[in-house]
Amino acid sequence: MLRYALRRIGGLIPTLLVIITASFCIVRLAPGGPFDQEQTLTPAVRANLDHLYGLDQPLTVQYAHYLRGLLHGDFGPSLSQRDFTVTELIAQGLPVSISVGLLAILLALCIGIPAGMAGAIWRNHGPDHALTTFAALAVALPSFVTGPLLALVFGLGLHWLPVAGWEHGAPRYLVLPVLTLALPVAAYLARLTRASLLEVLRSPWIRSARARGLGGTRVLWRHALRPALLPAVSYLGPALAYVVTGSLVVETVFGLPGTGRYLVQGAIDRDYPLVMGMIVVYGALLLLFNLLADLLYGWLDPRVRHE
């Protein structure tokens, strides 16, 4: 297990380097710069600005400088939000984004897996029909539709929850954003779990467990559940990617002070260091989460780690 883990961690670093290099190239090759504004700057001012931020250096020098900064946790200065470094901006917003995202994934796991199990156990009965229909709808709808609609119903209509805001992470303010993010993930997890549990329950080893005289509950918990969870576990990586992109929407809709809005705003302002910083941080997070999902998978399914 340890060797498997080390091998997987070793594979992360080159991937991260590829992501950093590729996005550095694309961002720098894009036409237009951060200082293209309505009023054109005089050439002298422009040259000074470019010199201050190192934009007049050859690309290779800029790249080496950027990598050196990254190693020290320095993402450079933000070009659009003067007086802030990118590291400061990310350090302020990231805890918000991460806590909302992880809560959403936890909630999705707590709803989706039991729901999928229930669907498989009571297959083609009332609860299962309701579940499949609901799941189909929840998977189909994007978060920028469900978010405002939830806010409209529970915030403006019923007055149960605040429509938007953060208030230092007070639970009341977290419910709607977390629910919006969790809904499609939970629905997808429920579908996956239902399908794979149905398949596992038909397999020979379950039949042999039944033939040995084991009861239904015991077969379910001891023999069927663990292999049935594998697809759900391998979905965790894509689920995080979904939550990351969903966080852009949810932070806009519910006015959360997270990092999601920096990616879009940074791209619109051509704030190179900010966009790069967001890509590197999110890229690293995604890789890390995929790794955790892989390790969990290896733990659940011993066949994988001996390959």
Binding site: A30, P31, V139, V145, P148, V264, A267
Partner: protein
């Protein structure tokens, strides 16, 4: 009669709860609703005296229900919401179909060449796809939209198509690997056809059927994608309307004018629900073993 009994038996085997319960009525209904929406999107704006960007100063933020003036109300600037929403539906449908086509063409070309060439070429081409996969799609799209002018339809198409082709390329490569061991390819080679000719004349036509079906399945994703970008302000720009930027404005105004959110949102919900129902039915029909 015999056909319907056989069809029932098939869905028994497939075990699709939904398919059995509605017995094929739902996909048919979805098709009718879709056709109606498409018809409305094309003809509806022609029936209304308003255009998508004309301002009506007498009726600012008018709620729906005023049959004489604006059927589904107006927005903050007095623009007709019925016309704007249908305009958005039309744009969304157009962009998603075109983007599916783009991703189909690129994906088939990439996947077929990789699968047919094999060896090191295959390895590097698919490694490239893997790397793009490992980035969340939004990063690529945001970078692409900033590369060029924001809001141009062409850029939007390229950006959306640029992500869609990855899965197509994987599927096509798999199919190509299976195809290239078949006898008729061997025969073509024995007849002295060049690899390029085999690829174009024998591999690609045999791939196109299943891959085209997959491409139609991706249309709802493309619609979500386009509206998502427009919602964030990276896609279709004002005064042009897309379901995404209409929902964005509606979400900001929902406290005082909930219809500004509800009108475009319900169109998007109906559109996506119908497309997904249809897609599921199509998939079940082609592959009864799935689920």
């Amino acid at each position: 009669m015999a056909g319907s009994i056989r069809a029932c038996g098939m869905s028994e085997v497939a075990g699709s709860a939904r398919g059995r319960r509605w017995g094929g009525a739902a996909p048919r209904l979805a098709l009718v609703v879709l056709a109606l929406i498409a018809l409305l999107a094309v003809l509806g704006p022609l029936c209304s005296p308003w255009s998508f960007d004309r301002l009506d100063w007498q009726h600012l933020a008018l709620p729906p229900g005023d049959i004489a003036a604006h059927w589904l109300g107006t927005d903050r600037l007095g623009r007709d919401l019925f016309v704007r929403t249908l305009y958005g539906v039309r744009l969304s449908l157009l962009i998603s179909v075109l983007a599916s086509l783009i991703s189909l063409v690129v994906g088939v070309a990439w996947g077929a060449v990789a699968g047919f060439a094999g060896g090191r070429t295959d390895e590097w081409m698919m490694r490239f796809v893997d790397v793009l996969y490992s980035l969340p799609y939004l990063f690529i799209v945001i970078i692409l939209t900033t590369l060029f002018r924001r809001g141009s339809i062409g850029v939007l198409l390229v950006a959306i198509g640029a992500v869609g082709w990855l899965t197509t390329a994987r599927i096509v490569r798999g199919e190509t690997l299976a195809l290239k061991r078949r006898e008729f390819i061997e025969a073509a080679r024995a007849l002295g056809l060049s690899p390029a000719a085999i690829l174009v004349r024998h591999i690609v036509p045999n791939l196109l059927g299943p891959v085209a079906v997959y491409a139609t399945l991706t249309i709802p994703q493309m619609i979500i994608f386009e509206s998502f970008l427009s919602f964030l302000g990276l896609g279709v720009q004002e005064p042009h309307a897309s379901l995404g930027n209409l929902i964005n404005v509606g979400a900001q105004e929902m406290q005082s004018a909930p219809w500004m959110l509800l009108v475009p949102a319900s169109f998007l919900v109906i559109l996506l629900a119908c497309l997904n129902l249809l897609g599921d039915a199509l998939r079940d029909a082609l592959d009864p073993h799935e689920r």
